[in-house]
């Protein structure tokens, strides 16, 4: 197949980013943590389901931030090294398409994480929807998928010398999706339940079907869109900064976006600067739909469109800024 320079770079980035062990470790840990929440939370009082959903969605968002920065720094930092970038940009490849290809690569890896996180969120939500217990059969497949990914990656590495870390990452996506699809065919919580004593038993109340909450998918998509903004920011930072400073900067932005309403909403009505700042700063409130989900509420699809528009504009703006900066940047060839 004939591949243009743009696609070649994107493809290579997709292979290269997940080579970082930190990325694989972080994403597996986050996913398994999300999967374990039903066990950790069952003892708390009150709205178990809500707490569990909120935490999972928050982990999805926070995880995206934590992954986006090393991914962007890995994608750019290693390229901007001496001897690499010069060889690349002496080829017929404009700087802006190079940067765009890198962004797509980062977004692709993050998308893989977000898909897995949404799947785990939905599965563990069903697991905790069972009263007085945990729906094992919704959780076990998650752990099996993770285990399989690691084992198969190790075998592949042994047999074909494929790099372990990046194959484990992509296999995790594959097996997690299989696990998710498998659980879609499961209905009730009955036979797979345990009570808190640890004994399996059949609970007549658990036989009823436990629905898949597809609105969690929409909530997840919204948060992934918000994360797209952070990814663009991470790429901009990665042009100049190493991972840790970039992470602090992006986290700062993340916090500002959390507090933007609290800090500025009132003042924005009186003062122009506050109004401008309130408009410019990313506002995660637009993307946080978890509250709407409690009490059986759902997210209107019509909400997705403006949110998508907002996120794309914001991310696009940051990317343009990054391109302008990169275009003028001096390269250590």
């Amino acid at each position: 197949m004939k591949r243009g320079p743009f696609l070649s770079i994107t493809r290579l980035t997709l292979v290269e980013i997940p080579r970082q062990p930190a990325l694989l470790l972080l994403s597996s840990t986050l996913l398994l943590l999300m999967a374990s929440l039903p066990f950790l939370i069952t003892h708390s009082l009150g709205e178990t389901g809500k707490l569990q959903r909120d935490s999972n969605l928050a982990l999805l968002f926070l995880g995206s931030l934590l992954l986006a920065v090393p991914a962007a720094c890995g994608a750019l930092g290693s390229e901007l090294r001496k001897g690499r970038i010069g060889a690349l940009l002496s080829k017929p490849l404009s700087r802006s398409s190079f940067l765009m290809a890198k962004f797509l690569g980062v977004a692709g890896v993050l998308l893989a994480f977000q898909i897995m996180a949404i799947q785990v969120t939905i599965m563990s939500d069903r697991a905790s929807a069972i009263e007085f217990g945990v729906g094992w059969k919704f959780i076990v497949p998650i752990f099996v998928a993770a285990l399989l990914a690691y084992v198969v990656a190790a075998l592949l590495n042994f047999a074909t010398r494929r790099p372990f870390v990046s194959s484990a990452f992509w296999l995790l996506l594959l097996f997690m999706s299989c696990a998710f699809i498998y659980t879609l065919f499961l209905e009730g919580g009955g036979d797979g339940m345990i009570d808190h004593g640890g004994h399996s038993h059949v609970d007549p109340a658990g036989v009823q079907a436990i629905p898949v909450r597809w609105d969690l998918l929409i909530a997840g998509i919204l948060l992934s869109l918000a994360a797209l903004m952070l990814q663009a920011l991470a790429l901009l930072c990665a042009l100049k900064l190493p991972t840790l400073p970039a992470l602090s900067l992006c986290s700062g932005f993340f916090l500002l976006g959390l507090m933007s309403d609290y800090l500025l909403a009132e003042r924005a009505e009186q003062m122009l600067w506050a109004k401008v700042l309130h408009g410019i700063l990313p506002n995660w409130q637009h993307f946080w739909m978890a509250d709407a989900l409690t009490g059986g509420g759902s997210i209107p699809l019509s909400y997705l469109l403006p949110a998508t528009f907002y996120a794309l504009c914001w991310a696009g703006g940051i990317l343009l800024l990054a391109m302008a900066f990169f275009e003028r940047m001096e390269l250590q060839a």
């Binding site: 070649s8 290579l12 001897g83 970038i85 010069g86 060889a87 002496s90 017929p92 060839a333």
Partner: protein
């Protein structure tokens, strides 16, 4: 006269710190002009601005002053890059790709279609003597091997202008000889080569013209033959002279010139000697030197 392939006028570059204060003046008023089919050498001690000049010419750094034209266009023009091949000072390629994959990736950056690509890669690998590396990763390559793959990368698009930053650094004498032969053959095929080096013997063998930089300033420039001529000094070479004739000749010259000229046996240079030894060792170890195409220019470059 044809237009120059590459020309720079009064090129200057000063590195600055964060506050825009000058830190190092790397290149100052560099004016070059390369004709088609010429091998041009940038010569100079460490830190004299050779690599910086090359990066300016490639549009990787921005000049403070002056003008650069490559094929009559700005070096930032993406189209121009189809016709340029570049070997960086340090080649820092993707360490986990093998030689073939790495060249495939480069070929994809040029949009070369797969059939053509595989053909070229096979030839290039033969040319730089890496066809036997198989699935070994570039990260495991020795410095000289990495250099060779870098050279292959620089040539995959059949460039008209080849820019090589210290092409022979890290290469063994055999590799050096091969690279020099490749450069000469490229020039014979009408390609223009700009190379930098501080290995004087290399430059002397391959370059048509050189300039010597020091502190970013051109200190000498011109065709290498002219620069190296020693005025009023001639050399006479004779083979298989028997002692009797030798004495006659010396007497004759002494009569003519009024003083006796000096006579010394010619020495081969170390490079020739080394290459002879290696060639012999190769034959002894059963490697048929006749079949290998190492060092011969790849067919598609012809």
């Amino acid at each position: 006269m044809s237009d120059p392939i590459l020309s720079t006028e009064d090129l200057g570059k000063t590195f600055r710190d964060f506050w825009r204060r000058p830190r190092a003046r790397a290149v100052d008023s560099l004016s070059l002009s390369l004709e088609p089919g010429e091998v041009y050498g940038l010569l100079g001690p460490n830190g004299s601005g050779k690599s910086t000049s090359i990066k300016l010419i490639l549009g990787l750094l921005h000049p403070d002053k002056g003008r650069i034209r490559v094929f009559g266009k700005s070096p930032r023009d993406v189209k121009v890059k189809h016709r340029i091949g570049y070997l960086p000072e340090e080649s820092n390629l993707y360490p986990y790709l093998d030689a073939r994959e790495s060249l495939r990736f480069t070929a994809a950056l040029f949009g070369i279609d797969p059939e053509e690509r595989e053909w070229r890669i096979t030839q290039l690998l033969e040319m730089v003597g890496l066809s036997h590396t198989g699935r070994r990763r570039i990260g495991e390559f020795s410095k000289g091997m990495a250099r060779r793959i870098g050279l292959a990368q620089a040539l995959i698009n059949d460039p008209d202008l080849v820019i090589l930053d210290e092409p022979t650094s890290g290469l063994d004498p055999l590799g050096t000889r091969q690279v020099k032969d490749i450069i000469r053959s490229l020039a014979e095929r009408g390609k223009t080569v700009l190379l930098s080096s501080h290995l004087l013997a290399d430059v002397e063998d391959v370059c048509d013209r050189i300039c010597i930089l020091y502190g970013g300033i051109v200190r000498a420039e011109g065709p290498i033959r002219e620069l190296l001529q020693v005025a009023n000094h001639l050399q006479l070479q004779l083979e298989d002279l028997d002692p009797e004739k030798r004495n006659q000749l010396l007497n004759l010259l002494e009569d003519m010139l009024g003083k006796r000229p000096q006579l010394e046996p010619s020495r081969k240079d170390l490079e020739t000697f080394f290459l002879e030894v290696v060639a012999k060792a190769r034959e002894d170890s059963g490697e048929a030197s006749g079949t290998r195409k190492e060092g011969e220019l790849a067919e598609f470059l012809v």
